[in-house]
Symmetry: none
Subunit: 228 residues, 4 copies
DNA sequence: CATGAATGAGCATTCATTCAT
DNA sequence: AATGAATGAATGCTCATTCAT
């Protein structure tokens, strides 16, 4: 997606718009190296953590030479950031589609919860990177330099705001704050599962069960309601 | 000659010079060095992040020699972990007191929220370390090696369970899961504030306001209720 | 797969694509690429210094692909050496012509001085490469691998020897040594000017003035004095 | 001489004036590591050239760990510069003493020549570093950042100026320019000897012979001639 | 107990060179 | 001939940890 022309000081957010660069013939970039590197990076970052991950290991896993990574990314930092942007973009695309597929705000929230936990379950490495490393790098990356995460929150906040306008959700709570809280809760559950989920496949840590409970929690709250 | 086994996670078991530390009151150290080191560590870890923090900087801030740190802590890792345990213990003590001071489950939950956000507001460095570094180091530290955090969650889950037994809270949600979700939400809000709060002192990021909203959210849920 | 024997001084023997180069007039290359590369090399070497100059930058300045340089030169080292030989050949040609144009040994020496300093003034990059990089690479390049510089000295020494035989210059000094000394002095003056000349265009650093003074210095020391 | 207190961001030209820093006891720096590193550096730089010299090799030759070098010098560059300053200081001290020991300007100049060539002969590595590397690094180091070399020239120029004032030397030549020329000639002769001297111990390259000839060359050019 | 100079393994990054196209 | 993406060896520098004093 990010269209790099190696050796040209790979600058993040390059994204040369005019596609097909040279005359017309082959695009030697073809082999999808950038993608292979990103895939390798998720795995290695997830397994080792950003700081303990070695660039050479990523290169090895990606099946390229160490130096090749620097044709596509400015630095190890840039690799992490590019990874976030790339993956979050996918997450956001999925989220948008999911939100559009539902009609009521409540359904949308339940969907968000389910979607996120399914993602975690189906793509552990990616989830670990997003949950752990994203936060680790937060202070200097997140909203500041990570518009994709901001967009993620905005999508959720938007769904909430719509629900409020439609009278479906109570209007006295700040959508931004709610979106954040929802994400925080989801992320924490995800992390717990990531940390000890795969080993103890007990009921309590079952993610789809957690999704249902979180849905209840956010939609209805904790308070016991005599009859509703 | 130099007997290094570097880069290999030293296993925890600090051995403070003054032997049996926490237990009794005696701490025959040289004037509370351990405490000074911990205080320095919070500040430095908060400012630089664990991996970018230099042991020598911590020593400098603490006003001790580099080597002295290793008289109190086995390694940099151990320093971080000890820091968590030490600080979380205080947090848990506060939490216990706060919970005991309230009578209803709802009040307790609101109190938890308020307590946590007040902590964040009043002690930024400590909050940053807990929010950011705790997670960063999560995969290999948290539950596994951080009983104090587990206890934190247990305290909250306990309050919820009590509320459920008393019929005050709905009984169909897992207290553990709820405790986690609550902490996740709190932590996320805290992080957002830590990242950009101090500069933009706008209403929306006001933590006491956030505390109220979070209280509503968890107690009552999002769904609009015609009249209650 | 990649057959590297890197970092090992490639032995000289460029093999320009158009085969037998210098000899005849024919140079069937694609539009004087070799020359363009050499021109780019002087500029880049002068600006960055040999070790800091990047082959890719030279290629860029020359308007050719990185790989193309290796069609004309065996290695970066070879490029530097070829550059010396090429430029020194011109210098020697000029020198020969200048010497032939004068009749007395004294005039010849003055001419040598003037010629060199004029060259420096009119072609800074080339002068920098000769002054700085030539010496830098001296130990393994100069006499040993740089017959063109040896020839340069020989031309001057020859003029001196002739003057001695003709009774115009005192015969007790070694022409080789004198030639070297003259070049050393010239080169040092040139370097001083190169380093801070262009900025401070004050009288003292004026090169034509320096030429006159150097003439006096060397001539009056060399000239045979019938009666003293 | 340069009084470093390791780990404190070794800054060039530190030279803490108050000597004996800590209370009174031992100065653990004692082993003369800084000097050993400088000695190793001269040898290695001389043999390999600055750019080809490896810091680890210098450390090895000095008998210290790689990291130790960075306790005394900020970087490889700083090591080179410190080396110049340190060695040039000695050279200047010798020069001052030599100039003071002579009474006439002519004797002083002859002495300068002899002194320099003797230095070259007796301390090849140091001479190579000064002759070759000094120039190599010229553009950004020499007068600009190398006051010691400027001082060297000033000493010589001073001797010449004195001679001019005393009527011993012709007054129409710029002392600065002459000092430069003298150094240039000396340096060039030295370089020639360094490059092929040790192997071919023929008469022509004999440095003491060269010294005499250079003396004649410069003196007879400089000396004021009452009647000519 | 304390010190801080010394250690040295470890790693991100560069860049000359190659070779498939 | 020309290209330029890919290579991967090579190295300056950092910093947690130790240990002689």
């Amino acid at each position: 997606m990010n269209n790099h022309s190696p050796r040209k000081k790979a600058s993040r957010s390059a994204k040369s718009p005019g596609a097909g660069k040279r005359a017309s013939a082959a695009e030697p970039n073809g082999s999808g190296k950038r993608e292979r590197i990103l895939d390798a990076a998720v795995r290695v970052f997830a397994q080792e953590g950003f700081y303990n991950a070695k660039v050479s290991q990523i290169a090895h896993v990606a099946g390229v030479a160490d130096g090749t990574i620097y044709l596509y990314f400015k630095s190890k930092d840039d690799l992490l950031i590019s990874l976030f942007e790339d993956r979050m973009e996918r997450v956001n695309d999925n989220l948008r589609a999911a939100l559009a597929a539902e009609t009521s705000a409540c359904d949308r929230l339940r969907r968000v919860v389910r979607l996120h936990l399914e993602l975690v379950e189906s793509n552990r490495p990616m989830a670990e990177v997003i949950s752990v490393e994203l936060r680790q790098s937060s202070k200097f990356i997140r909203e500041y330099a990570n518009p994709k995460f901001a967009e993620f929150l905005r999508l959720i906040a938007g769904a909430i705001a719509e629900g409020q306008e439609a009278g479906e959700l109570r209007p006295d709570l700040d959508p931004q704050l709610l979106a954040r809280s929802l994400f925080g809760a989801l992320d924490e559950i995800a992390l717990a599962w990531l940390v000890k989920g795969p080993k103890h496949t007990n009921d309590k840590m079952d993610l789809s069960h957690a999704a249902k409970q979180l849905g209840h929690l956010f939609i209805d709250g904790l308070k016991a309601r005599p009859k509703e």
